[in-house]
């Protein structure tokens, strides 16, 4: 009887707490990707980082193109608060010629990216995050020496008119910096679909 009860409590515990962590605060591993400057960038390089704004974007997607200035602004504001922005291109370069590393380099230079623009050539990081679209944003946060996904979804609620937009990312990061839980931890992402090769 006692054993059954103990197992039951354990299952309940796993169900309540385990599933919470699995669904809302998925753990992601450190990752290392090639930056457009030719050097590898790893999440482990940022010793003081409290978290990261991880944004999946690409070269050709018209909706993603609307966000370049906002990426720079987000990075300017939050990298100083030890929450730097990492932009990742997980698009299949075989299918989409505009997504080559050389064209990523040109875009980053032309549009004066102030953040790393990383190529996920094997799409492993995209799969790790289950990134669906460009743009799609994640906020990961360090807890107990692990990276937990605290927010995923859209960057804000207005692509073409930044002044009218409510930034989901800023709100999430501000709340985390203030030690608060993220009040809106998931929104719908939309833009150009990222297709994964098996």
């Amino acid at each position: 009887m006692k054993t059954t009860l103990a197992i039951g409590v354990c299952i309940l515990f796993i169900f309540v707490f385990g599933s919470f962590n699995l669904t809302l605060e998925k753990r992601v591993d450190n990752f290392t990707l090639l930056n457009v400057n030719g050097k590898n960038v790893s999440t482990q390089d940022y010793k003081d980082a409290k978290g990261f704004i991880v944004i999946f974007t690409c070269n050709h997607c018209p909706f993603a193109k609307l966000y370049t200035n906002r990426f720079n602004e987000l990075n300017t504001k939050y990298s100083n608060l030890n929450v730097p922005l990492l932009a990742i291109n997980s698009m299949d370069t075989l299918m989409y010629e505009e997504e080559t590393f050389e064209l990523m380099q040109k875009k980053a230079t032309k549009e004066k990216f102030n953040f790393p623009y990383l190529q996920d050539v094997t799409q492993a990081v995209g799969k790790l995050f289950k990134a669906q679209h460009t743009p799609m944003a994640f906020v990961i946060w360090k807890e107990n020496n692990e990276w937990l996904i605290k927010y995923k979804g859209a960057i804000d609620d207005n692509g073409a008119h930044p002044k009218l937009a409510n930034s989901y990312i800023s709100k999430a990061v501000d709340e985390l910096l203030n030690g608060q839980p993220v009040s809106n931890s998931e929104t719908e992402s939309f833009g150009c679909a990222i297709f994964y090769r098996n």
Binding site: H60, P62, F63, L94, M95, N158, G159, A160, E188
Partner: protein, 577 residues
């Protein structure tokens, strides 16, 4: 005036003020697609976005040469038209020329898949008479999603017979194309992929209004919806004339009048109508869908409060576009021609056979994702892209008998031909459906018969499609395919290598293919770059004039040439410098 009364009047005033404000802001000008004319048409399909909902986020859309939908292609009967379709979508697609009589390999059905980054160049001689056709994606299992994104456009065919008639012909002035559809927007203003939308759209415009001159105006109405049929009429129940159906003009204008003049337009169908606005300057009238009168088993007549088929527009009446009558133009059309064109329809006595196509429900199908309780099927089987369901001899006239045991109505569409409706449940089809058609609504349990001649284009390899034009049903497998075969053509069954020469190599702007055997020719050419990306798809190219390779950047390419008679594929490498 007591205090309560004063307060009531104040509230009433406020309500009027709010409503007046809302109504003043509530209409958007109907967007009229740009036109493209000539014989060469450049169409670039891409993922993009548009501000469709007035406030808030933009909607992710698919556009052709623009933000949403595509240009109206104006083409002339007898011309050879060359389409240059560049797929810059994030996904593969196809573009089907709906209603066009053309070779199957140019038809843009599910077999002519255009990968991302690829240029597809079909061409054909326009044999259709003056008519309103359209083009849209036909990628199997993705038609609903890609049509929902807004990919499509009108085709207006002109010919001498139509040009000789005193009909409105000023595009966007007294000759107005209106694609009617509905969409569901989620809280982020993005399209939900659902069969019925909650918001009606005219030319992709929500709450549309448009100025029409005080004279006879021609409306080219297309049902571009995923599923809904629209029971069309006007808010003042005015009469109107039908002058054309799917495949062209009628013999004579047909007056639709009575207490409630209506025309039911199902998915994929077109109708051209003349509406008299003479002497009505300053007034307004709505083109409406009177779907409250539709039965529960007609698309759009359903009324589900929730679930995947729920819609605010189900089984109700709603406005589609507000038409504001302004002053007449110079040289207005003020009368309706007595007669239009002389149509020669196939005769039933000339039919070689009656081909029976069943429409039914297939309980228990689990091999494809099914949104409803059953997949609907044709010929008792789900669509299989590797199965040719029917083979039709070239120039054969046939009666097709569509026998429905389905509970639901389905708009049946056939590629390649325009047909003439004969009977519905043994009774002669209504007059308003007696013109050339390529879509017919087959109501549940009914039998519809039509006659068509399968002429001009034979191809034993590439099939044409027939299917339910409800994109959801089509994606779920309510589709079949047929080939038109020429029994007099001789196919070489040869395994010997076919000698060809490619020149020049390296090439720059043009690449020539020479067959050593003059009787041989190219059926299909595709060119891939060194990484295997398809760059060019050329059905039956004019190889004697050289292939235009000016769109290719420098590099090594592989060309695959399918020889017409043997269907043998020859592969060679060449360099572009």
């Amino acid at each position: 005036m007591n205090k309560n009364m004063r307060n009531s009047l104040l509230i009433l005033g406020l309500i009027i003020l709010i409503n007046w404000n809302a109504s003043a802001q509530s209409y958007n000008t109907l967007w009229i697609p740009d036109t493209l004319t000539g014989t060469n048409f450049n169409l670039t399909i891409k993922d993009t976005f548009a501000q469709i909902v007035n406030t808030g986020n933009q909607s992710i859309t698919g556009g052709i040469n623009g933000k949403f939908w595509g240009p109206t292609l104006i083409i002339n009967k007898g011309d050879v038209v060359n389409m240059h379709v560049q797929n810059d979508l994030n996904d593969s697609t196809t573009i089907h020329w709906h209603g066009m009589h053309l070779p199957a390999v140019m038809d843009g059905g599910p077999h002519q898949i255009i990968p991302p980054g690829t240029l597809w160049q079909p061409y054909w001689e326009v044999k259709n008479q003056a008519s309103t056709l359209w083009y849209h994606p036909h990628m199997h299992e993705m038609s609903q999603e890609q049509i929902t994104k807004g990919i499509g456009g009108f085709i207006i065919v002109r010919d001498a017979a139509e040009a000789a008639l005193d009909l409105p012909r000023k595009y966007g002035v007294d000759d107005i194309p209106i694609a009617i559809s509905d969409r569901d927007f989620n809280v982020q203003n993005q399209f939900s992929i659902v069969p019925y939308g909650d918001s009606i759209m005219a030319n992709m415009t929500l709450r549309a209004q448009y100025s029409v001159p005080a004279q006879y105006v021609r409306l080219r109405l297309l049902n571009a919806a995923i599923e809904t049929s629209y029971n069309l009429g006007f808010s003042d129940n005015r009469s109107f004339y039908i002058i054309g159906t799917d495949g062209g003009l009628l013999d004579a204008p047909l007056l639709i009048n009575g207490a409630t003049p209506r025309f039911l337009l199902s998915a994929g169908e077109r109708v051209e109508i003349l509406v008299n606005f003479s002497g009505q300057s300053g007034s307004s009238v709505f083109l409406k869908a009177f779907n409250q009168s539709l039965g529960n088993f007609i698309p759009g007549g359903e009324s589900f409060p929730n679930g995947p088929f729920a819609s605010f527009l189900g089984h109700t009446n709603y406005n589609i576009v507000k038409l504001n009558v302004t002053n007449a133009t110079a040289n207005p059309i003020t009368s309706v021609p007595i007669s239009l064109v002389t149509n020669t329809y196939p005769l039933e006595q000339d039919a070689a056979l009656t081909r029976i196509i069943t429409l039914s429900d297939s309980a228990g199908v689990t091999s494809v994702p099914i949104l409803g309780p059953n997949a609907f099927i044709l010929g008792h089987q789900l669509f299989d892209i590797n199965t040719i369901n029917h083979s039709i001899p070239l120039n054969q006239t046939e009666v097709w008998e569509l026998k429905s045991t389905s509970v639901f109505a389905h708009p049946f569409h056939i590629h390649d031909v325009e047909f003439k409706l004969l009977t519905i449940n043994g009774v002669t089809a209504p007059t308003y459906q007696q013109g050339w058609k390529d879509v017919v609504l087959v109501e549940g349990g009914k039998t519809v018969r039509f006659i068509a001649k399968f002429d001009d284009f034979a191809d034993a390899t590439h099939p044409f499609m027939y299917h339910c034009h409800i994109a959801l049903h089509e994606d779920e497998g309510m589709m079949g395919q047929f080939v038109v075969t020429d029994i007099n053509s001789v196919n070489e069954i040869s395994k010997e290598e076919i000698p060809i020469t490619l020149f020049p190599n390296p090439a720059h702007d043009k690449l020539f293919i020479a067959f050593k055997n003059q009787a041989q020719s190219a059926y299909y050419v595709s060119i891939k770059d060194f990484l295997g990306r398809t760059k060019l798809m050329l059905p039956q190219p004019y190889v004697k004039d050289g292939i235009d390779i000016s769109s290719l950047s420098k590099g090594v390419y592989t060309i695959s040439i399918t020889e017409k008679g043997s269907k043998q594929v020859i592969t060679k490498k060449f360099i572009v410098n």
